[in-house]
Subunit: 156 residues, 2 copies
């Protein structure tokens, strides 16, 4: 498992970073892909949204119980999107603005600057758009997400 | 990056496997989580859908250009969900049926039996449900996906 590129964003510290793409809807980021993988970007331009899989590179430990930004109760880590999961892999859905050579420009990006990228996958409406879903403890807090900002709690 | 559990499904060979969860809508699978991570499953039961991140453990090579099951033209691998990507990480959205001790039962699972699990994340409606999206080359082929089956092309 090795990085295939680097994600550049305006967020240089964990503090005051939006906690999910919906809170960063206007934020533009760029992905700089390693040259040897350029060929793999062909045909990506036709997709309006893509998944980014990346390393939570500032997460140095695992916590099986965490108190999410959006809640006051401790929760099992697999019921959250906390970076402190056993494998420090993050997942974000972003809007694809364009692909030019080794630079992929995206909108709605919610990760730290210099985040190592592991994979890009197309968001495929037929596979990925869940028509009806229930979001457990998160449901009540959902409407607040656009206003929330992170703090240092997941830095270590 | 190490497996946190194992996914059990009825699919023991790559041949005749559905190529995405939508083609496996009724298929039940179970995840056997490693004992040391059990605590992390708390609160997961409230979610109707979850992401599974896993290793494409039968993929032994990388191909930057692939011809997807659903197409006849070669495409850049990042514009597909092919296993032959630089990091062999797979992503599926499945319906959560229930959690009982170390066993997570899911529906709509499209992976090989004995697939190593890397992560479970909750599907959060507010973050993950893209209201309008465009699926590039896939769009025209989308309606066929439920009928298609895999073959051996991504085995090596």
């Amino acid at each position: 498992m090795k990085p295939i590129g680097t994600i550049h964003t305006p967020f240089t510290t964990l503090e005051d970073m939006p906690i999910q793409p919906k809170g960063a809807a206007d934020v533009i980021g760029t992905i700089e892909l390693e040259q040897q993988y350029l060929e793999g970007l062909a045909d990506l331009n036709g997709f309006s949204h893509i998944y980014l899989l990346y390393q939570f590179h500032k997460a140095r430990r695992t916590a099986l119980t965490v108190t999410p930004f959006m809640d006051t109760s401790p929760r099992g880590v697999f019921a959250t999107r906390s970076p402190l999961r056993p494998n420090h892999i993050g997942l974000s859905i972003v809007r694809l603005i364009g692909v030019e050579k080794d630079i992929v420009t995206v909108q709605g990006i919610d990760v730290l600057d210099a985040t190592p990228l592991l994979d890009i996958k197309p968001y495929i409406t037929a596979f990925d758009a869940v028509q009806q879903s229930r979001s457990g403890w998160m449901q009540a807090a959902e409407e607040d997400v656009a206003r929330k900002r992170s703090d240092g709690r997941f830095a270590g």
